[in-house]
Amino acid sequence: MWYINQSGDNVFHGGNEDWQGAARAAVLCSSFRPDVEEERIADEPVSCYNCRYRRWTAASFTCSAPDRQPAG
């Protein structure tokens, strides 16, 4: 579900339209924290796309959660 890019960031493999995948990843993540209302774009409340720690990239996002280990 994740890979490490050249900068050492955790990048989500599913891109920016894998709604089910992003929801699954967030449910499994102990670091999930909902972002502010205006930045939430997924209909599933618990989704990496709605997380305060997701940092958008052109094609996906990286996870900025502190002390987070990717779920795999």
Binding site: D35, E38, A42, R52, T57
Partner: protein, 248 residues
């Protein structure tokens, strides 16, 4: 006098969002008796590895009708507000533009649109602001937020960009509301389908969720609707999902 107040880069991962600051500013402008604030819009800017945003690179902007004599005071207030309320490690920027005084509104709009497509420098933002005669200032850190602040004002001015901050509560019966009732809300001007059809006032819409979200289109706050799947009756419309609105 109609002004646009736009801010960017005021937050960090732990702080209040830039939208919350914009809301507070809009509220305090009214509480101080300086004028009447309009809704706040969120404008997506370019996502690029060379741009040091915290998580989403979006600017927040609201319009206000003020008495011109309050303009300088509002700029002073907004500047002090950002310097005080912006998060540690942020790079806040403030733009205050007098919409009626812009010699070249098209240039401000073009700047906003450029910031959605390409990397823009602080120098370019300041040069543009000076040329346009709009206030642009930085209030901490690198001041990188001036780029988004100016862009946010341009995109709001275009009338064709952004989602409104917050959800709107619309009274419904069995989850449905007539377009005329939806448009009676102060912050909804029109109900339109994704294909561009403007719904007549007698049409009804299924409201999905507790609140609805509108987008800025043609200078109006528009509730976008989509065809409800599997319906053959006249209740064929439903409000768009968050996913459907993500590119606005």
């Amino acid at each position: 006098m109609r002004i646009l107040i736009s801010i960017d880069d005021t937050d960090n991962l732990e702080s209040r969002g830039t939208g919350a600051l914009a809301s507070q500013m809009a509220r305090e402008l009214e509480e101080n008796g300086w004028g009447k604030s309009s809704f706040i819009t969120r404008h997506q800017l370019l996502v690029h590895p060379d741009i040091p945003y915290t998580s989403h690179n979006s600017a927040m902007c609201f319009a206000a009708e003020i008495d011109g004599s309050f303009l300088d005071g509002i700029i002073q207030y907004a500047s002090a507000f950002l310097a005080r309320e912006s998060a540690t490690g942020s790079d806040p920027g403030l733009c205050v533009a007098v919409a009626d005084r812009l010699d070249s509104p098209g240039s401000l709009i073009a700047f906003g649109q450029k910031a959605k497509q390409s990397i823009v420098s602080m120098e370019e933002a300041y040069a543009q602001a000076e040329q346009l005669g709009v206030h642009l200032s930085e209030h901490g850190g690198t001041g990188q937020g001036v780029i988004g602040a100016l862009a946010g004002a341009g995109l709001r001015l275009s009338g064709n960009d952004g989602r409104l901050k917050g959800g709107l509560a619309i009274e419904a019966v069995n989850g449905r509301a007539a377009v005329r009732d939806i448009c009676s809300h102060a912050d909804v001007d029109e109900v339109r389908s994704l294909s561009g059809l403007i719904l007549p006032e007698e049409e009804t819409v299924l409201l999905v969720g507790d609140k609805v979200k509108t987008v800025l289109m043609d200078g109006k706050s528009v509730l976008l609707v989509a065809l409800a799947e599997g319906t053959a009756d006249r209740f064929a419309w439903r409000t768009c999902s968050k996913q459907q609105l993500k590119n606005y």
